[in-house]
């Protein structure tokens, strides 16, 4: 049960990526069990603070999935997410958190396979990085 220790907090937007994850289930595709899903309305809802909190609370990775660029149910939420997350990644480096521990990507409502692929890739990346060393600065 080694991967149980490496929690990956996964934010899915309600419209595309959440349904994409459901499709992976419909197709009975294997997804790593440390992918722990939280539903939000749009990837634009994700505050950098959520990501930081996830690391403080013990997560080893954070995966944020939204609709493909141009497909956001609210038109531009995912573009806002791109800006916020890329800025956040730069900051995380200063705290000694590898950038690969945060991934922002796109999965459409029909892309069950893509969801499973991204989830598995993320789990592999996190397995290689291992658990996050204790975050003295953040605490």
């Amino acid at each position: 049960m080694k991967d149980e220790k490496l929690a990956i907090v996964t934010f899915l937007c309600n419209w595309c990526s959440y349904e994409g994850a459901d499709k992976a289930g419909n197709a009975r595709l294997n997804c790593p069990s440390n992918i722990r899903i939280i539903r939000v309305m749009c990837s634009g809802r994700i505050e950098p603070q959520f990501v930081i909190q996830a690391f403080i609370d013990g997560a080893s990775g954070v995966l944020i999935l939204g609709c493909h660029p141009g497909d956001c149910h609210y038109k531009k939420g995912n573009y806002k997410a791109i800006r916020r997350i890329s800025l956040l990644k730069k900051m995380l480096r200063q705290f000694g958190i590898e950038q690969d521990r945060v991934r922002l990507d796109w999965v459409s409502a029909s892309e069950g396979e893509r969801f499973a692929k991204v989830a598995n890739e993320m789990a592999e990346t996190i397995e290689q990085l291992g658990p996050l060393p204790e975050l003295k600065i953040l605490n």
Binding site: M1, D3, E4, A7, V9, Y18, E19, A21, D22, A24, G25, N26, R28, L29, N30, C31, S33, N34, R36, I37, I38, R39, V40, M41, C42, G44, R45, I46, E47, Q49, F50, Q53, A54, F55, D57, G58, A59, H73, Y74, K75, K76, G77, K80, R84, A116
Partner: protein, 666 residues
């Protein structure tokens, strides 16, 4: 008060039951502080299951409910309704997905159980921050503003006003006797048309594809009906000046331009035209005929009340002339008339301002404006019309009949970057009409691609071919020259440069946005697309909804299209409005929206620019941002950006999401 939380885990038969150790989870969560009931059920979404849930809520006096089952996309609403039936606000319920996102993707039962357990703990942890959300209803105006009186706007107007609603009021007086009163309620439509008449561009055509019927005959009953309907206020020669408010409650200011002819007194005898000494080219005939300073756009235009063009009228420019006033036996001329600003309250707005054909001088290779007999298609339409400049005769400028005509399709398509979609058909139809009138005329039709997408198109095209029209495919590089007697159309085929001689050349320039579409877009703060037409919210799913709630863009102002498609959009937009702005009813708003605490808001305006639906504005006096509930769709983008935490996303608050993170991150 301590919350009384109930947790219900569905086994979904074997779907969850065989993959996850449900009993272990139930036994563990039972012991969590605040959880008073934790139970499993074999199929919670069944009628039995829902009944069981309802009873449990009532019996346990539950104040919060967690359901761990399939995806919320399937039965979340059903469970919410059950909560409501049990007297619990549906937003005090939360659903977590342990089927699609756990049981079905995790083959190892131990791992699946552990993941499901974490998700249940997260949902339970969220419960302390769950807040009831009340359904919000607002008073709305059922009346509608329609801008543009072409086929699209007319159809919308007629659909919206087709039926009123009978309101039956039952009242009890003090003695307990009931009295029933019946009254009828009607929706009003304000139809604002910029030109002096309604009907739009198609009312000026003699015959239209696909039926090849007379357009004025086809439209006349509709025009009459609109003008006579009591609950339609037709405001011709008028323009919208200001729009404020939002879906359900817009206030619009309309400028009624001075007509100088009383609509009440004028009987439409047209005796005033003849004596007017002014003659200027009539833009409604493509400049092929002259009109007076007091005029109707074309014979038979409705309403049949002329206007005086104040730029050209002698009297209105300080000169001695009152010829029309003298000719009018009904005292209808009123030189003292002034523009009036009127205000109307409406719940929704339909923009149907149409489009125009590009000015062909933009494409100088065709010699338009340089050679007399090079005409735009709209001019040929008018030559062909029995109420047009030649009474329906196809004549050259010198009054003779042409012996040969070249039709050039796809003019300016490359430059514009889009196909106008209607030219192939109307050009073919025009060629057909010309052939009917002048059977011996030689017609060449130059095209680069033929666009014949609808079920009747091919048939019409074949009919035109059978009439002997010669179709010539070229590469779009045609140009027009003149040898002093005849026009020469030069064109390239795959192998060589060729030419034909013609007496007349007809151009099909691109359909482009109407002149003041930009002004309207600014009034409403809605976007235009890359070609300058109104943008729709979603080209496939909401093809005529503007990206602003309660505003619709129909007909050719949204992009080139034919009459049938314009009418369909007009009707469909009316349907959308009828289904939401019900007579005598309130409008129910989306419950999951964002809200701003004005005590905390620092007035930085960050959120205003981020909102994709223009739902946030600044309260200038209080110096804070305010969210309009009727426009907010609850994406939460503004919440994520708020530097002070003043903005809250209902049902997805900072606290709720944090509570989930806390459990799943462990």
């Amino acid at each position: 008060m301590q919350e009384r939380i109930g947790v219900f885990v569905c086994k979904c038969g074997p779907n969850i039951g065989d993959k996850i150790d449900v009993d272990t989870i139930v036994n563990e969560v039972k012991n969590i502080d605040g959880v008073v009931t934790a139970k499993s059920h074999n199929l919670l979404c069944s009628n039995d299951g829902l009944e069981f849930l309802k009873e449990e809520i009532i019996k346990g006096n539950l104040s919060r409910v967690v359901v761990a089952a399939c995806t919320p996309k399937m039965y979340e609403q059903k469970f919410m309704n059950t909560c409501e039936e049990a007297g619990l606000n549906p937003f005090l319920f939360h659903m977590t997905n342990i089927r699609e996102q756990v049981a079905w993707v995790t083959p190892d039962k131990i791992l699946a159980t552990e993941k499901a357990r974490k998700l249940c703990l997260a949902a339970i942890n969220r419960m302390s921050f769950q807040e009831p959300i009340e359904k919000k209803e607002i008073d709305v105006q059922p009346d509608v503003l329609v801008v543009g009186g072409g086929v699209a706007g007319l159809e919308a107007t007629l659909t919206l006003t087709a039926k009123g609603r009978k309101i039956i009021l039952v009242e009890k007086d003090d003695s307990g006797k009931t009295e029933t009163t019946e009254s009828a309620q009607f929706r009003r439509v304000y139809l604002v048309e910029k030109s002096p008449c309604i009907g739009g561009v198609s009312a000026r055509f003699e015959e239209v594809y696909q039926t090849m019927e007379c357009a004025p005959c086809m439209l006349s009953p509709e025009l009459q009906e609109v003008l006579q309907k009591e609950n339609v206020e037709t405001l011709t020669y008028s323009e919208v000046e200001e729009i404020v408010g939002s879906f359900g409650n817009f206030t619009v200011k309309i400028r009624r331009k001075a007509r100088y002819v009383s609509e009440e007194a004028c009987i439409g005898c047209n005796a005033c035209f003849e004596p007017c000494p002014i003659e200027i080219p009539n833009q409604y005939d493509g400049g092929l005929s002259k009109r007076k300073a007091i005029y109707l756009p074309y014979a038979g235009a409705l309403p049949n009340v002329p206007v005086i063009d104040r730029l050209n009228c002698l009297h209105l420019n300080g000169k001695e002339c009152n010829a029309c006033e003298q000719a009018c036996a009904f005292g209808a001329i009123n030189f003292e008339d002034e523009d009036r600003l009127i205000e109307k309250n409406v719940g929704a707005i339909i923009l149907a301002v149409g489009s125009k054909l590009s000015d062909p001088t933009q494409f100088p290779q065709f010699g338009y404006g340089k050679y007399d007999n090079v005409l735009s298609a709209i001019q040929l339409e008018r030559l062909n019309a029995s109420n047009g400049p030649t009474g329906g005769k196809i004549l050259l400028r010198n009054g003779q009949e042409p012996k040969s005509i070249a039709f050039i399709y796809c003019v300016g398509r490359k430059e514009k970057g889009y196909c106008s979609g209607i030219c192939c058909m109307y050009m073919s139809a025009l060629a057909h009409h010309v052939k009917e009138k002048l059977p011996d005329v030689k017609i060449y039709s130059f095209y680069t691609d033929l666009c014949l997408p609808k079920k009747e198109h091919q048939k019409i095209f074949e009919k035109v071919l059978a009439k002997g029209v010669e179709f010539i495919r070229s590469d779009g590089s045609e140009y027009v020259d003149y040898d002093g007697k005849k026009l020469i159309v030069k064109y390239k085929t795959e192998s060589s440069v060729k030419s034909v001689l013609a007496d007349m050349v007809i151009l099909a320039p691109p359909v482009e946005p109407a002149k003041d579409i930009e002004k309207l877009a600014k009034l409403l703060d809605i976007p235009l697309d890359e070609h300058g037409f109104f943008s729709e919210e979603h080209i496939l799913m909401k093809p005529f909804g503007a990206p602003l709630e309660g505003v619709f863009v129909v007909g050719t102002c949204q992009g080139p299209k034919d009459i049938g498609d314009s009418v369909a959009q007009g009707s469909a937009s009316a349907g959308k409005i009828l289904s939401r702005l019900m007579l005598g009813e309130k409008l129910e708003l989306e419950p999951i929206v964002a809200e701003i605490d004005e005590e905390i808001c620092c007035g930085c305006n960050t959120c205003i620019g981020l909102c994709p639906f223009s739902a946030i504005h600044r309260d200038v006096e209080k110096k804070v941002s305010v969210i309009d509930d009727t426009l907010c769709r609850g994406c939460g983008t503004c919440v994520a950006a708020c530097p002070t935490g003043a903005t809250k996303a209902k049902n997805f608050t900072m606290e709720q999401i944090s509570a989930e993170i806390m459990e799943v991150a462990k």
